[in-house]
Amino acid sequence: MPIYLKNVCFTYQPDSPFQNQALNGISCTIHDGEIIGVTGPTGAGKSTFLQLLNGILKPTAGEVEVDGVVTSQLKGRALVNLRQKVGLVFQFPEDQLFEVRVFDDIAFGPRNLGWSEDKVKRAVQWAMDMLGLDKDEFQDRSTQELSSGQKRRVALAGSLAMRPNYLLLDEPTAGLDAYGRQLLLALLRKLNREYRTTVVIVSHRLEDLAAVCQRLLVFQAGQLALQGTVSGVFGHQEALQEVGLQLPPLNELLWKLKAYRPEIDPTVLTLEEAAGEIERAFEVYFQGGPEDV
């Protein structure tokens, strides 16, 4: 089911000296089975937004409807049920590694779902494989005695193992090496394609969002500044700059080249496409020079 936000506001520490309105009048829909990216400058409200989507935070005004229920009306068991369907991976993985053993940490969610130990084992094995964590090497290690990228992988594995219908990821590629990043992005595509998992990714790296997302939401100072398809948003270079964001290197390059060669499309998403744009616009000058034309 889609996730609906209607006029959502969120204020931290209301009626205190540190009262802080982090989100203001957000209305949007996250469609069923889509991969959507969320970006915006530091402090824009992205992590707050994500935590509203699984009921950890409840709006101070407006409504969030997830999986057919309005989160502000949920209590106790119903809230727990929702969190099992909506997996959240925090911005700092340390914030969610509680168990000592890596295996137990990844198994925590599945066990809470009441799965048989056999099913739990298979789920943990699958999640570790998917994130490039060798089972023999890591399952008995302590979660506190890992490198930061290894912790990130364990945190991700813990959420994935539950096979949630909705997956909320806060800066999931931060701290991963290039190989781990590719692995994760491919995995998200696969989950989305094969199981129609709805995925919401918060990231400062627009190239990661461009690689997997169908749509983008751009936040600024607690408001939705821009939304649309990835190419659509990348077509608004000035608006992005005003918000303080930068396009991925390929698109930044193409926009700069467009000033000289207006026929260039600066919104393409892959390296091959970018090379194609440049080739069409510049090749006469490079291959044999203009006199050959």
């Binding site: 520490q13 290894q150 992988r153 800066e171 090496d177 190989y179 964001l245 930068q246 091959e272 510049f282």
Partner: protein, 273 residues
């Protein structure tokens, strides 16, 4: 100078050494970027450089001080500032400005001087406005900026930064790199920048590539970042613009392969018009 000589470090006997006979030096005013896959030993190296960890074998000396000598530890920590990869591990006070003032206060500086340093450091990372905010009420990027400011305010001889920009927006990342380059060039502060963003390593004078606890590649950005196959084998990538240049050259262009930055490629392509 920081001199790392055949340093080996093991967290536990049951695990392989996190670092295995590493040797290199960081000269005064040097700028070294450290790349490497997850678990290759980068953060361990960072902790060895300022004496939080002590090598099991081999030695590390900072300005001639051996990190094994317990009595020198305060001086070593003052000489080498370390920005942790998780800013939460570094926070010691309750508000932003108290946290940034912690280092200079420990150095016994006069109040006025501390004030100046704190304000300058917070301004550099764009956190002046939030200086009274309690730390637990900050966003991820705001925490990371505070952690960086805390080290800047100490004015160490060397700054070691462990993935300092992983939670920052594009502007924040640019500001940090700009600040590091300024400190490096104007104040001759030695920089060791650990990063997964190969685009940041381009700014360094030298790059070290770690894998499984040993130095696998070492050299200038030109020497290291064009070895795509070798990097890929280690689970790493060359910069996106460099890969684009390689693709264009495959299609018949003749662009210098050591082109790392967007603006350089724009200049090269547009000179041809």
């Amino acid at each position: 100078m920081i001199r790392v000589n055949q340093a080996t470090f093991r967290y536990k006997d049951s695990l392989p050494a996190a670092l295995n006979r590493i040797s290199f030096t960081v000269d005064p005013g040097d700028f070294i970027a450290v790349l490497g896959p997850n678990g290759s030993g980068k953060s361990t190296l960072a902790r060895l450089l300022n004496g939080i960890l002590i090598p099991d074998e081999g030695t590390i000396t900072v300005l001639g001080m051996d990190t094994r000598d317990v009595s020198l530890r305060p001086d070593i920590r003052r000489a080498v500032g370390l920005v942790f990869s998780n800013p939460e591990n570094q926070m010691v006070a309750s508000t932003v400005e108290e946290d940034v003032a912690f280092g200079p206060e420990n150095q016994g500086l006069p109040r006025e001087k501390i004030r100046q340093r704190v304000d300058a450091a917070l301004a550099r990372v764009g956190m002046l406005e939030l200086s009274h905010r309690p730390l637990h009420l900050l966003s991820g990027g705001q925490k990371q900026k505070t952690a960086i400011a805390g080290i800047l305010a100490m004015k160490p001889h060397y700054i070691v930064l462990d993935e300092p920009t992983s939670m920052l927006d594009a502007q924040g990342r640019k500001d940090v790199i700009q600040t590091l380059l300024e400190l490096n060039r104007r104040e001759n502060i030695g920089i060791v920048l650990i990063t997964h963003l190969v685009e940041e390593a381009v700014w360094a004078r030298r790059i070290l590539v770690l894998s499984q606890g040993t130095v696998k590649m070492e050299g200038s950005p030109e020497e290291v970042l064009l070895k795509t196959i070798e990097l890929n084998k280690l689970g790493l990538e060359s910069p996106l613009i460099t890969r684009l240049v390689a693709e264009l050259n495959r299609r018949g262009f003749t662009i210098p392969p050591a082109t790392f930055q967007v603006d350089d490629l724009v200049r090269i392509l547009c000179r041809s018009i």
